[in-house]
Symmetry: C2
Subunit: 241 residues, 2 copies
């Protein structure tokens, strides 16, 4: 089942906060993308690059294990990850091991540890709280049934110049595109758009000089097909419309 | 401005969780009500009385002080409060002092202390996280603008047999009604209903043998007027339709 969840809080130690509009999308087949733009970037560095973090991955980059009725473990090995791409100091590299508990109210508590100074140094525990949202609504509507109906479409590019993933779940589109051999914020691009009642797409977050290369047509496609957008050829890797 | 907020998490010590569907409504003039029904009552006592807590108050029962742009203190002296009514052991009595911080993402962090064993014993710190919701929508839609447009209507009863408050903000109705001189769960009644697109009201939570006494008509009223519902006379104390 395709899904999208909004992060409602991020806790490190006893410090709980939320400065972002974070949405994590997951496709039917397990492709995932999490964009974490700051709602009110304030420092110069934040204005230049207004994201806390962004990452995405394929089903090969995540291992989900059901531990009990309401608990899973999820081990992430991000395919693309801004911290790694930008080589941000004191951030985690490699697999992140997390535990997900579904609460009675439907929200999810994710807990885990990251190792910003390497696995030989002490880890930092974190908690993230997630609220499942409806994929079939243009607004941020809490999903109180736990059920989602809607399309699940994924585009991927991995050529000599670019790597990227676009995940469409219901009305929600999120995309990540990075230039190979750049490693600066100039090589990064993100898009979040939401289909409106009139079928048009409203872009609610965008970043980067290559955003015109993200796919914008999601109809009449088939898996394996290439879709070229302003010179960039994306492959349709999942298509459940 | 009338408002409604959904609690997304409740933290005591390091234990963060959420078992309820808690909504707190506040009227234009500062009447407030918070109903905290359990989503999945499981223990016998929970099935008999499926609420974590409920309370309501008038503008006289709350003192709000702006401390800085994003911070207020709110001192609550509940008018009606299930813990007090039922004399639940090890629960707080009297004023609760809280601090509210509005986050950049629009959510609110409430922090405070309660004194379940009296003010001479150590207090228990708590945090509650709140997400403002749109009052003009029938579903649980996150309010990302911070602005609300909609009616603000309040009914109050305080006669020889009953005490109660109903707060209507936009499409959302929440009511609390208690029988005087009872002090058991049999004397308590609650209602939550939400107006649908066809103008009808869908009851999403109800409890008690007197729920037929809650007002159901919210049109063509005026402040000071009495509205009698199945023998119970409510006074319209706020009417901004």
């Amino acid at each position: 089942m395709p899904s999208i969840a909004k992060r409602v809080a991020f806790q490190v130690g006893s410090d709980i906060f939320e400065r972002t509009s974070t949405f994590s999308s997951a496709s039917n087949n397990g492709y995932y993308i999490s964009l974490r733009p700051l709602v009110k970037p304030s420092k110069t560095s934040e204005i230049e690059f207004p994201l806390e973090w962004a990452f995405c991955g394929t089903p090969d980059n995540i291992k989900i294990t059901q531990k009990s009725e309401n608990v899973t473990t999820q081990d992430f090995n991000f395919w693309l990850d801004t911290n790694t791409y930008l080589n941000v100091p004191n951030t985690h590299r490699g697999e992140v091991n997390t535990t997900w508990e579904t609460w009675e109210c439907g929200s999810l508590k994710e807990s885990g540890s990251v190792f910003p100074n390497g696995k030989s140094s002490p880890g930092v525990n974190f908690i993230e709280l997630w609220q499942p949202m409806r994929i079939d609504k243009s607004e941020e509507v809490v999903n109180i049934t736990g059920v989602n109906n809607g399309r699940s479409i994924v585009f991927k590019v991995d050529d000599s110049n670019y790597q990227g993933l676009v995940v469409v779940v219901g009305k929600w589109v999120q995309g990540y595109l990075s230039k190979k051999n750049d490693g600066t914020i100039k090589g990064l691009n993100f898009i979040r758009s939401v289909q409106q009642a009139d079928e048009s797409y409203e872009t609610t977050f965008k970043y980067g000089s290559d955003i015109s290369k993200f796919p914008t047509n999601f109809t009449n496609l088939k898996v394996g097909e290439d879709v070229t957008v302003n010179g960039l050829a994306w492959t349709v890797v999942e298509y459940d419309a």
